[in-house]
Symmetry: C2
Subunit: 252 residues, 2 copies
DNA sequence: TAGTGGTCTAGACCACAGA
DNA sequence: CTGTGGTCTAGACCACTAG
């Protein structure tokens, strides 16, 4: 990804040789002067051009390859990669941070909590914890006096037995999980749904109002840790994703 | 980022020293043995531990920092970073590819097209092309005989004068733009909206049905190239994002 | 101010794929 | 085969900052 090994600030910072070379190559590619498939100079050519050691140019070109801007092939050289518009960095905000950033008071309400064996009749639940036990939590996130989002969560107690003892009336499950359970992979599904009557009532919106639904599954290795569905009021919440062709997650 | 400079295959590949060190550190972090805030060994300690040069361990730790797994602070050391659930790689699919991948026939319909000076009364339009001209396009993406998405697009003709001569009845604006106009930054906003009567009619859904709305702005340098709003039938389309704490776009 | 990371050098050997 | 990239070494100087 991105800013890569040379720091974090995007294009700015001290004008190190590394950054200069990188900026030069990026400029050629982003300006279109070097289109997709164009072969960039060999490492030894860049060495000569910039009068530096091979490791220096190697690092730059390797970073660009890691960023997806170019592809490297032994014996053939390095080539400008085809642009990948379809990939973006999505910011999935922490709900508490999102609410407080809007200057509203965040409050969390536990609506329901239940520990039980996973139900074989519910495919999602059985997939989460086959032959195991689950902790089911329903809660609500408030922005001031208005409901902001509903959350329905299943935690695999076989994978996270410590969750059994946590008081989720005091602490939101997401914040507890983030701080206590490392994870290795996750998947989001983002959809638009019409609020059903029960949901509409809890979100204090008219029946059928459009809501943004975020379903997230999180794994640690092969083990599924949790499955959560967060339903946001469509009138209060948008997801925003900023990105560049170089896929810089931290960048501007 | 991520797989970083040492190739691309995720955790696999030749057991180079680089990969061994990286795998060791990642294992400690992902297993929870080194929790958030834990200081990892100094570079000179890792040098001694693995009996290698400093550049070798420096590269590994720098890659892990670029991946967001750790944070580095001069004079203090390198520390395990707090997990960043909020960041994900979002796959923004090409609509044609998305439709054909479902085994349906893709068809594109141009509904309206108009070249005109940017209207100062429309903030979004004026922001796109102040004192310039815009090309406004409305079109529809079909999956078989069913509408799949509506698209409303503004192209800044001052930034992309070539667009003036293109026949957008034959080619979708997105596919033309991707192939002809390099860009440097973009921004997505994802929202859930209730279909208005006109929109519902064109999408062949009941009034008020939930739709997923994707608004994308694209820049080349400081110049705003295009502003597009794509409205997907909520019942036919979800966005999916897969990711890991290390933010590997290419990885599994 | 001492010690960390940030960067760079001038070499080297190797694997591998293209010609 | 030949030449590319992949990796690694054993140093070096510097910037920054935590103590």
């Amino acid at each position: 990804m991105e800013g890569a090994a040379d720091g974090e600030a995007e294009g700015k910072g001290a004008p190190t040789l590394n950054r200069r070379i990188r900026a030069d190559i990026e400029a050629k590619i982003l300006s279109g002067e070097w289109g997709p498939g164009h072969r960039i100079p060999y490492e030894h050519e860049l060495m000569a051009q910039y009068g530096c050691a091979r490791m220096t140019v190697n690092k730059v070109v390797s970073e660009l390859a890691a960023a997806g801007l170019i592809e490297r092939r032994r014996r053939a050289g390095s080539f400008v990669a085809a642009p990948r518009i379809q990939s973006a960095i999505l910011q999935i905000p922490d709900i508490e941070a999102e609410v407080t950033a809007r200057g509203e008071a965040y409050r969390y309400e536990l609506l329901r909590q239940e520990r039980r064996p996973a139900a074989r009749s519910v495919p999602a639940e059985w997939a989460l914890a086959p032959r195991g036990r689950v902790l089911e939590i329903e809660c609500r996130h408030m922005a001031g006096s208005r409901p902001f989002a509903l959350e329905h969560r299943l935690i695999n107690l076989s994978a996270v037995p410590e969750a059994e003892a946590v008081d989720f009336a005091r602490q939101a499950p997401s914040s507890w999980l983030v701080g206590h359970v490392p994870w290795t992979a996750a998947e989001h599904k983002i959809a638009a749904v019409n609020a059903l009557p029960e949901m509409a009532k809890r979100l204090d919106i008219p029946d059928g109002s459009a809501c943004l639904e975020l379903v997230r599954r999180t794994w640690r290795g092969d083990e599924n840790i949790t499955l959560v569905r967060q339903t946001f009021r469509g009138d209060l919440f948008d997801l925003v994703a900023r990105f560049t062709p170089a896929q810089t997650p931290n960048g501007g």
